[in-house]
């Protein structure tokens, strides 16, 4: 009798588990499968892979980047290749922000036969999966991975955003120009390619401008940032630079407020997220980020995009929750949008869905998107020369445009 109860309880647990598992796995393909169902066999399909995190440290940003791509796909979902209309279908995978799990997510894109892939948010996972795509001969467009190593030494990885050496220099220039900073405290996450890299380039540039940098790292899973904040205060730093993932950032902002840090905080493109806005709202922090795109842009094409995507996001509760619960448009969404159209340009220019032909065509793509003109140089990076600087208005919880900062 006891055995029967035990067994039935175990079975109930198992059922509960499969019920959860089942609904998560069915939710993701449903969105990508829907367009193909209407398309059927009458129309041929070209698949574009979306290699982005939907969970883990970078889940929030990855979801917003994916939203930009999905929105672009909802506007234009056909491409004319060689006089024939093809339906464009997105294949979305979750790389879980993890360097270990990324490659298997990439492999599933390869096996589903994508012509080109977009992604990822986070340089580490992009680098981790680079070889999987290279071996399959599939070109990838990096959307917001800013570490130079992503495109270095390969011919299949492209990128439409600016690079960390540039971003680090911009931030260093901004710190000296706007705050006349002499000492900077910079904080990175141990083993995270993005934050370690950006801190390094920031330090290079800041020291070249005659400043002093105190550099520290924190380990994975750390949630007590008070020692780091105290150190920055004790050492008399003028700015606190922490280009870490949004998850850690929310904790840092909260604790900086509790500790009355009292100096400006700066970060790179990762912090351009409503996670940061929510964390900073109502606090006494002074917070600046560099980013790719500003929601309040005067540019006609950009303003039209902002209006369109806001409507699209508000119309669907799932999209709204993926965007963090409100309709603030992150720069990564704009970049995702541009990446999608860059990919379409390449497919058109290649005149075929063959990944190799698309790869060849990408070198010659010249596309002007909402974030500016996209032309690839010899390493496969888009040529960029300015970044937007935004600051948080802690009363309204919105971004305020500060300046377009170049390199002195």
């Amino acid at each position: 009798m006891k055995k029967v109860i035990a067994l039935s309880l175990a079975l109930a647990l198992l059922l509960a588990l499969t019920a959860c598992g089942g609904s998560t796995s069915s939710a993701a393909p449903a969105s990508s499968a829907a367009p193909s169902a209407s398309g059927d066999a009458a129309v041929d399909v070209i698949k574009i892979g979306v290699y982005e995190p939907a969970s883990g440290d970078n889940g929030a940003g990855g979801k917003q980047e994916t939203l930009g791509i999905q929105y672009a796909n909802s506007l234009v979902n056909t491409v004319n290749v060689g006089g024939k209309d093809y339906k464009v279908e997105l294949v979305i995978v979750d790389n879980e922000s993890s360097n270990d799990k990324g490659p298997s997510a990439a492999a599933s894109l390869v096996s589903s036969g994508v012509s080109i892939a977009l992604g990822s948010y986070g340089s580490g996972v992009s680098i981790a999966a680079s070889d999987v795509f290279a071996n399959a001969g599939i070109p990838v467009i990096g959307v917001t991975c800013t570490n130079p190593q992503v495109t270095e030494g390969n011919t299949h990885y492209f990128r439409i955003c600016f690079l960390d050496p540039f971003q680090g220099t911009v931030l260093a220039n901004f710190a000296t120009d706007s705050f006349s900073a002499k000492t900077a405290y910079s904080l990175a996450k141990l083993g995270d390619d993005y934050s370690v890299g950006l801190c390094y380039y920031f330090q290079q540039a800041f020291e070249a401008l005659g400043g002093k940098v105190i550099y520290e790292t924190f380990p994975e899973g750390n949630s007590d940032f008070t020692p780091y904040l105290t150190k920055a205060k004790n050492e008399g730093a003028d700015v606190f630079f922490a280009p870490v993932s949004t998850e850690a950032a929310a904790l840092i902002i909260e604790q900086a407020n509790a500790q009355s840090l009292g100096i400006p905080m700066m970060a790179g493109d990762t912090w351009d997220s409503n996670v940061i806005l929510n964390a900073a709202k109502g606090t006494k922090t002074d917070l600046y980020v560099t980013t790719f795109f500003d929601e309040g842009t005067d540019d006609e094409q950009g303003a039209e995009f902002v209006k369109g995507i806001k409507e699209w996001i508000n119309a669907n509760p799932t999209n709204l929750s993926n965007n963090g619960g409100d309709d603030t448009i992150a720069a990564v969404s704009a970049m995702g949008y541009d990446a999608y159209f860059t990919a379409l340009e390449a497919i058109k220019a290649a005149g075929s869905a063959d990944p190799k032909a698309v790869n060849e065509a990408l070198w010659k793509v010249d596309y002007t998107g909402i974030s500016g003109r996209i032309v690839f140089n010899e390493t496969g990076d888009a040529i960029r020369d300015a970044a937007f600087v935004k600051k948080v208005n802690t009363e309204t919880g919105k971004w305020e445009f500060v300046a377009i900062q170049g390199v002195n």
Binding site: L17, T230, N234, L251, A279
Partner: protein, 294 residues
């Protein structure tokens, strides 16, 4: 004095983190004392308590949400014991350990499903999350409350174990399972009580911890859980005062190490300490001598 002023924030943070580890560590050490089981799911109960608070605080006022969260946390601990551990009471100890690991992953993955993998912002609790000044340091009030509350709860627990009937039964069960049963002690009630107390303390711990570190993620329980476990082993697993002392030592050392600039090694230190203790004094600081029953 300058040295003290500069290091005060580290010490405060250390004491506060230590108190939070202590509340979790008691759950580990009590369950171990009675069942000889390391309840790997304990850190995740702590995380689930945090997550429930996030969701309930949006649906109801805090004075209703806090007791409800504590009650549900207790219920969760009770149910886990009944469903995942009780049927295995006569199975080899390894099976029940594996079952605990299973529960831990089940809770983490369910949290991942519910939250969609994104960090949830813990609601500010009035009064205890207010910002105060202590000497030269600025911090949240919770930092000061944590050690006091921890000590009060531990004293209450020790009194409960020493002077009440259920406490006596707990001590008897932890001495000798079989004999205690022969003497008419209702083993299942005693074990359930243990899990209820452990979960309640983990619930209180999560209130304090997440008020300080406001991001709740599915893996939020893993690191504090692991550290609390180290604290329990350090103090001598099975001993409640040991777990508390161990937790405070680990919390303060960790914070001071970060303050000294060796931030990279703060976690490594915790686990190195575990190895050193196990090699030098396998029973921990206050551990009982193992009397192998023949």
């Amino acid at each position: 004095m300058k040295f003290f002023n500069e290091n005060l924030p580290y010490i405060l943070a250390g004491i506060s983190v230590g108190g939070q580890y202590a509340l979790i560590a008691i759950g580990y050490t009590m369950v171990y004392g009675i069942l000889r089981l390391i309840n790997f799911a304990h850190g995740d109960i702590f995380m689930v308590a945090g997550l429930m608070m996030v969701y309930f605080s949006t649906a109801m006022p805090l004075y209703a949400a806090i007791p409800l969260v504590l009650a549900l946390t207790v219920l969760l601990g009770f149910v886990i014991e009944r469903v995942a551990y009780k049927p295995l009471r006569n199975a080899p100890r390894m099976s029940i350990m594996i079952s605990a690991i299973g529960v831990s992953y089940l809770l983490q993955n369910m949290a991942l499903y519910v939250t969609g993998g994104l960090a949830k912002q813990y609601p500010p609790i009035p009064w205890i999350s207010d910002i105060i000044n202590i000497g030269t340091a600025t911090t949240k009030r919770v930092t000061v409350i944590t050690p006091v509350l921890t000590i009060v709860l531990v004293v209450a627990l020790v009194i409960l174990i020493k002077y009440t009937k259920i406490g006596m039964a707990m001590r008897a069960v932890s001495r000798d399972f079989e004999t205690a049963r022969l003497m008419g002690i209702k083993i299942n009630n005693v074990i359930s009580t243990t899990f209820i107390i452990g979960s309640l303390l983990a619930g209180v711990g999560s209130l304090l911890y997440f008020t300080n570190y406001t991001g709740v993620v599915p893996t939020a329980g893993a690191m504090p859980g692991l550290k609390a476990f180290v604290a329990a082993v350090f103090g001598g697993i099975g001993s409640i005062p040991g777990a508390v002392v161990g937790a405070f030592i680990i919390g303060i050392c960790e914070s001071l190490i970060k303050g000294a600039g060796w931030t990279t090694f703060s976690d490594a230190f915790t686990f190195a300490l575990l190895i050193v203790i196990l090699v030098a004094k396998p029973t921990g600081l206050f551990g009982e001598k193992t009397t192998d029953k023949v």
